[in-house]
């Protein structure tokens, strides 16, 4: 293949990678801003996060578009094919992360209409675990670090534990004072959304591992914690 074609091809792959990284950055700040909005009761910030979601969707479309073009025109195989496929799939997970962040932000507005409930530290520390996971997995993607990806993948249970504890705490609150049921229910879904962002991080970790090593991580990671006590996955 002539030199300039090779160059254009590798540039396209590189551009795809950095589009994923850029999208990761937007999702990352959407998530941390949505947490800050809940914790600090900042309705204005929440509105900003909601408005910004469009950028994440745009980035995902862009990634999809680039991936399709690469596949159609360049017929990538082996490592190159993995780069294209993993970028595509990570884009899908990141888009979900963005949606979940938007959802957290939307609830802030409603939660702020009630009196404050003293659970912000618990939400904050659960959110902190999830944002560390998100940062770590995006770093692992940037540096193509399979071992770091495995680290993220095997640490999801921390978030689950925090979620289960927070869930119980919220139940106690609601039972003790039925007036708090409204805001507590919203906080419960905030917690659920954080937990699901954690799940998407492990999906992304699987993709990074696959990208670097060509091998799948074993799917059925032991998920501990009381599944029975958790609320349904659906939204109200």
């Amino acid at each position: 293949m002539p030199e300039h074609t090779v160059k254009a091809y590798s540039e396209e792959l590189e551009a795809l990678s950095s589009e994923v990284a850029r999208m990761g950055g937007i999702a990352e700040s959407a998530f941390s801003d949505s947490l800050a909005a809940v914790v600090r009761r900042d309705t204005r910030l929440a509105r900003e996060v909601v408005a910004r979601d469009e950028k994440i969707d745009e980035a995902q479309r862009e990634i999809e578009h680039r991936a399709i073009r690469l596949m159609a025109l360049r017929h990538p195989y082996a490592n190159d094919l993995r780069q294209v496929l993993s970028a595509w799939r990570i884009g899908i997970d990141l888009e979900r992360v963005g949606d979940l962040a938007k959802n957290i932000a939307k609830r802030t507005k409603v939660i702020n209409e009630f009196d404050p409930i003293d659970l912000t530290q618990s939400i904050e520390s659960m959110g902190k675990f999830a944002s560390i996971q998100l940062k770590a997995v995006l770093d692992a993607y940037s540096s193509r670090d399979a071992k770091a990806a495995v680290g993220v993948w095997s640490h999801d249970e921390d978030i689950d534990r925090h979620y289960n504890a927070l869930f119980r705490e919220l139940l106690t609150y609601m039972m003790e004072d039925p007036r708090t049921i409204g805001p507590c229910a919203h906080l419960l879904f905030v917690a659920k959304n954080i937990e699901r962002i954690g799940d998407h991080c492990t999906n992304i970790a699987e993709q990074v591992h696959y990208l670097v090593t060509g091998e799948e991580l074993i799917r059925d990671r032991p998920k501990r914690g009381d599944v029975a006590a958790a609320p349904p996955a659906g939204e109200p």
Binding site: G25, S29, S131, K135
Partner: protein
């Protein structure tokens, strides 16, 4: 790569750089690659560039030079440290950690490592219209940091790009926030002991005026309340100080074996009054970690204090110090030893694949901590006794202090506990790179 350009690292530098530019390059004073590419002309231009390279290197915060397509042309020392960048043999900026075998690119895209969307957007805008911009943004994990990034257009020898200069404004933002929090916490928490203190005082001045025995009783109470207020203020100040520079990684080294032995020596006399003993199991020699010796001592002291406080009379507190190859092993050995226990990570560092850790673990055989309370450990003022309406002892700030110190050290902390059997608190910290 299935399709690969020639490996740049195999080509002699002079060939790739074209011209003489590389001959005077040293890793420590490499000039911006974008500029360098233009210097194939007169010796004078090269001379001027050589003079400017150290200036760029010496900018105190991270500074990055990008070309017109937002690819990194140069990164100064501080930027390279922050984002793990390096110059390759050909003088191009790369991610030091990136696996080999990736497509050689015409330059590392800014978005690949910066990610934060505010400065990225602003950089694009500056490249478009040339207007200088400054944006503030926050890096939330693992330790919250705030930056102001100033971006200005740069034109040099026919090339066009932009210069990004970052300054860390975390300290200002933290100090403002700490002030607000300190005032709120102090006024809230001091109110209860102060009310009790005043009530006792009024009793002495009034009803108890004529009884020596009553007066003494209330004076003793007042002294206890005053003690409590002093402890609260000490702990709050200590916590504020730690939070203030939580974003500044610690310097120096500490030997966990020595630190733990010292902490035990401090605690032993008081513990002996109740017959509580300490047993230390440590490796021969030292267990060095990167960190602030005094703060790590504070961590050890707080955990040992708690273990002693919650031990039954004549109980034994076991302390273990050891080394671990990587994060997984550190987590396992410091916090996964009791199969039946509930456990939680209080602090988790980012996974780093090439770091060794040293850890210590403080084990007591006290009442344990109910599972539902584990995630609340480390929240300021959280105390199980307070939750369950028992009389108070302690400030509930000890573990908050511990948590912030471990976080500042980018270390990890794990708790396992079993009701009626005991609790174990484990801390692991990075070992220094082999000298």
């Amino acid at each position: 790569m299935s399709i690969d350009a020639p490996d740049p690292s195999k080509a002699p530098a002079t060939q790739r750089g074209g011209g003489f530019a590389f001959r005077w390059l040293r890793p420590a004073s490499r000039p911006p690659a974008m500029l360098e590419a233009r210097v194939s002309g007169p010796m004078g231009a090269a001379g001027r560039l050589r003079d400017l390279a150290p200036v760029f290197e010496a900018i105190p915060g991270p500074a990055i030079l990008i070309d017109a397509s937002a690819r990194v042309a140069a990164a100064n020392a501080s930027a390279r440290r922050r984002w793990g960048l390096a110059y390759d043999a050909g003088g191009a900026v790369t991610l030091a950690a990136a696996a080999k075998g990736e497509a050689p690119s015409p330059g590392l895209p800014l978005a690949r490592f910066l990610r934060q969307f505010a400065p990225l957007e602003a950089a694009q805008a500056v490249l478009r219209d040339g207007q200088t911009r400054a944006v503030d943004y926050c890096d939330p994990a693992p330790v919250e940091e705030h930056f102001r990034c100033t971006i200005s257009r740069l034109q040099w020898a026919g090339a066009e790009g932009a210069l990004l200069v970052f300054s860390d404004v975390t300290a200002q933002i933290n100090s403002e926030r700490m002030r607000v929090e300190f005032v709120a916490n102090a006024s809230h928490e001091l109110r209860t002991p102060l009310t009790a203190f005043t009530a006792a005082l009024e009793t002495i001045l009034g009803p108890a005026k004529d009884s020596e025995a009553d007066r003494n009783r209330f004076l003793t109470m007042m002294s206890a309340h005053a003690d409590r207020m002093k402890r609260l203020i000490d702990d709050l100040l200590s916590l504020s100080r730690i939070e203030l520079d939580e974003h500044v990684p610690p310097e120096g080294q500490a030997d966990l074996v020595a630190v733990l032995n010292e902490a035990v020596d401090w605690a032993a006399p008081i513990a002996a009054k109740r017959g509580v003993r300490f047993e230390i199991k440590a490796p021969r020699g030292r267990a060095l970690v990167v960190g602030d010796r005094i703060q790590i001592g504070q961590v050890a002291q707080n955990l040992i204090d708690n273990a002693e406080k919650y031990s039954p009379d004549n109980g034994v507190v076991e302390i273990e110090v050891g080394l671990a190859e990587d994060r997984e092993e550190a987590v396992r050995r410091s916090g996964r030893q009791w199969p039946e226990a509930s456990r939680i990570s209080m602090v988790t560092p980012l996974p780093a694949s090439d770091l060794g850790y040293a850890y210590f673990r403080v084990v007591d055989h006290g009442p344990g901590i109910k599972r539902r309370y584990l995630p609340k450990l480390g929240e300021r003022f959280f105390r199980v006794a307070r939750e369950e309406g028992e009389p108070r002892r302690g400030t509930g700030l000890g573990l908050a202090i511990v948590k912030h110190i471990v976080n500042r050290h980018r270390g990890g902390m794990v708790v396992e506990s079993q009701v009626d059997a005991g609790s174990a608190f484990g801390v692991y910290l990075e070992r220094p790179a082999e000298a």
